[in-house]
Symmetry: D2
Subunit: 330 residues, 4 copies
């Protein structure tokens, strides 16, 4: 039984707590949060102890930690946890600074302790099915990938300011999805952005709507579309065109009911946001982490994967600013 400490008792920490506790091979033993009341409440519910993150890292009975704290603490916690010999599942992104993330990678790698990055979408059953179908050659050779990722509503500008920008905060998921589905990192990134949803987002130097095109060494192409606002819900789709067909993963809808009247046929909207849409993905992600750690096999999403996605986000940020394609160095 894997004994797990949870660092961070916020919204996403609570989702992870359910999965840690519900999994047959893991148990939640400790919770920390800068908001100690939140840590206490979560710890009580799962009969775990509430303590500081330092205490968790110092507790030799704890096998693994799940890092669900604010982004600026990720690198430090990954380093400290691996130094303490604890397997790590850390929420994305690794860091807002590519340089800092690479430093973290070097230190973590030196310990030999497994670190997995929480790119939850790889574990969505729909996207995972696209991956399997593509890899088994069901559409021949892949040629053109399209990733659509629209949030239901923009976050407050106060969040935008500290987010690292659209490409690092939001599109980083889509960069990882592209890396995942294409099985390669692109050579060149071109970005175009706009702040048409909310001019205030533009005033703090960020975009709310963006398109990124990417070219791979073998001539394949990809395009990612992001918008901070799709009022009908969380729009999360991929399409992969290949030499022998097209794979499409469509949205998960709230229900399967339709109503036909004189006004047309109305059906349900996509699941509203990431907690609804990716509930099954979070559980599958946790299972994958536990299985890898228990079996001492490689984790399915590595710290390097986190850095690859971050490198693309940096390149896109530069391209959107300069108006020129950016070559990505790996």
């Amino acid at each position: 039984m894997l004994k797990v400490g949870l660092l961070g008792a916020g919204r996403i920490g609570q989702v992870h707590a359910v999965n840690i506790s519900g999994h047959e091979r893991s148990t939640l033993v400790a919770v920390s949060d800068v908001n100690t009341a939140a840590a206490d409440a979560l710890a009580t519910k799962y009969s775990a102890k509430s303590c500081s993150s330092d205490e968790i890292l110092a507790d030799s009975s704890i096998d693994a930690v799940l890092v669900a704290t604010s982004t600026d603490t990720h690198s430090d916690l990954i380093e400290a946890a691996t130094a303490a010999g604890k397997a790590v599942l850390c929420e994305k992104p690794v860091d807002l600074s590519l340089a800092r993330a690479k430093e973290c990678l070097a230190k973590a790698q030196a310990t030999g302790i497994p670190v997995m990055i929480g790119f939850n979408r790889r574990f969505d059953p729909n996207f995972a099915a696209v991956k399997v179908a593509a890899e088994t050659g069901e559409i021949g050779k892949s040629e053109l990938l399209s990733v659509t990722s629209f949030d239901p509503a923009p976050p407050p500008v106060s969040y935008i300011k500290v987010s690292g920008g659209l490409f690092r905060d939001m599109m980083i998921h889509d960069f990882d999805m592209a890396n995942f589905l294409m099985g390669a990192v692109p050579q060149e990134v071109s970005a175009v952005g706009s702040s048409i949803v909310d001019p205030a987002i533009g005033e703090v130097g960020d975009f709310d709507t963006a398109i990124v095109t990417m070219r791979y060494a073998d001539g394949r192409l990809a395009v990612i579309r992001n918008s901070r606002r799709a009022v009908y819900g969380y729009d999360q789709r991929v399409e992969l065109l290949g030499s022998e067909g097209l794979l499409s993963a469509d949205n998960v809808l709230e229900n399967t009911v339709s109503k036909a009247t004189t006004a047309g046929v109305t059906s349900a909207k996509p699941e509203f946001f990431f907690l609804e849409r990716y509930m099954r993905a979070y559980a599958a992600e946790w299972t994958a982490f536990v299985e890898a750690v228990v079996a001492n096999s490689p984790v399915p999403v590595t710290l390097e994967d986190g850095i690859s996605a971050l490198a693309l986000a940096e390149a896109a940020t530069e391209s959107a600013r300069t108006g020129k394609p950016v070559t990505v160095s790996h």
Copy 2:
């Protein structure tokens, strides 16, 4: 080039005129109608002559007639036309009286002249694809057929009174669809009806909503649902469950556009009524008739098919009245 006389210049006659005239191997040479102004207008448009039906039948240059007159004239016109040696495509139903239809069959058969009944739905590309898939064994052995047929709005009660009733007027199409898709006629028919859409329909002794179940000699089952009112449009579907799968033919929608908003996702309604939905079917039906006549091969929907459907309509009418299943004699 098949020279064709059109008997009946009403709404459905006009649809047929387009197809007769547009087909590469047929031409419209004469039109008749009790409303001579309607016949004149249609004849002018297609450079045909406007005359009486007697004149059409007497015109030895005419090879074939399309009968699109009122139902009470069908049997007489089939008999007269075949006696005059003209191939016949006659709108459904053959007659409201099964006895009269059988008499007509005997006379027409004696002439050896081809008579095809206009069960247009057999030529709908969707239902036709179900037929082909079923016959080629794509779902193994068929077991349970479901036919859905809802009109967008009920006709006036004045029409209901002379229609022969729901089963002969409306469901007769669905009986033929069942005969077509099952490749057999059922042994037993059970009907339940209601006049819940419009009580006035019940007051003249008819139903506006009905369900018919049918059992075949080999144990297969079928169900037909009819309603005179589906406010969202003409609802025309079939489902065929077999030992190895399910075939479904869904509605044809007005367009492929959907709109996602906070209110849900709205898409187009089914094509409104039979002229829209079955436009392609009418053209395919005419092509099938021309090809059979020109090649001197059997027509794909026979007068016997018209009588089989009528026999089922009579059985259903009796079952709905008595509340008991009715055995069908063939």
Copy 3:
């Protein structure tokens, strides 16, 4: 916190255990099963005690029991549990004998203890949404209900023999769905059945394919289609036609991926069977039970509901045997 004893540790008992244990207001304290090893295993996993059902009923610290034992024990356990003052959630059906079920109702009612019957499909988010839409008048007045319920594969004939027959064992869910969605019980039931899937099922006097039509006092109609075999998965749909539109609840698919190739566009099948399809429904059902018991408000599915569905199953069984419609007395 509601302390719960689980009677029955089989497949469905295990599903309930997850929900009992995971719910914030209930906890699993005891498990019994005639297979004591199964009870032990489940009890261990959830830190509950493994004991006999008699011990559970005699344990005054237990507030409620979930009955997931074989059907022939349901009536006895409902009576014993209510006599012991324990709220009951009992799997369907109440009993295979309508008379016995009514006797059970009388005894249970005398105690005043709440008894809820596990018609899980009422809690499926899709069917529940149809219910809400129908009740709020979104399609005007309901007129014609259609329930489709096909299992992926027939059970062994050994099970068929003791099942009570298709109508009591399988269609009982659909009778309850009709009662639920129509908000009334029908006056008359007509059934037609066949054993076309597996003749061995016919040899033991049962059907594997059946259609039931029902007529309500106000003229509304309903039809239920059952098949023991739909090789593509568990086919669970409803359609409700009303004066102002149509509500449809479609299947829940395994995923949202489609693949377009020269062979056509292939998408996922329906969730395979009831555990997959109704996983969310079971959780919602448990929540509804806990909320009613804790709030001392009426349970949403009563023992009377169980008896109504059973009465329809008896009527359908008789109709299928005699070939005549059966009037239902309530």
Copy 4:
């Protein structure tokens, strides 16, 4: 009755002949083609005369011409026909040279004779419905347009060589669709292309797969995806994201039949290519031309529209070559 001369009796000329002849207010009186046998055959079928294009332009009884000849003759024929006072409907593109097209515009405009360019997709009922919905504000203010346009199979390299390249030959339709749906021309165009489908296409300096992003003066964005090969059929879709929702026009499928088996649920492919998909659009386009000419009102797609699309194609060609965004001058 509009008397029409058809210049060009090839595949697309034959489609137009059906519409010219079938329309109630137009008649086909003359056909020309460099392949005189093709012209003769078409003329015979419609009782028109077969002659040279010069004879058609010199025939004072002819009111309008439809230009369906090879692209390199379009500018000359538009100039000659307008000089001869004949209304023109000319297939796209106006010319492969933007300079030549502008010259043609100047000459044609000087005559005051209406010239319409055959961007048939504007008349597709699906895209037309998106346009209407967008213009009536059904999704608020538009923000992000996506156009997908994949051909079923690449043309021979011999055609590619004289085609003007992917952007002028194929994507020009999509540039016009963007101009149509956005109601504006973009300021900046960025293109990325690849010859991954067929390296031989790359060897002659063209692309077979491309993505173009466009930015509008008001901050709106658009993306166009093109591939010369989608083996499952002609993939023609648009999506328009707005402040209050998303409009999507999906493919038109060959039929509405689906088949569910153990292998999944298979449905029909998109209509195979442009003749099938845009059959209704060609008829609606002709109707729009006839109505404008007869009413002496502006044609709905002008020569300027043709030039705008061509300017975008030139900009995209340059961007794909240089790897830099190109500012579009209008």
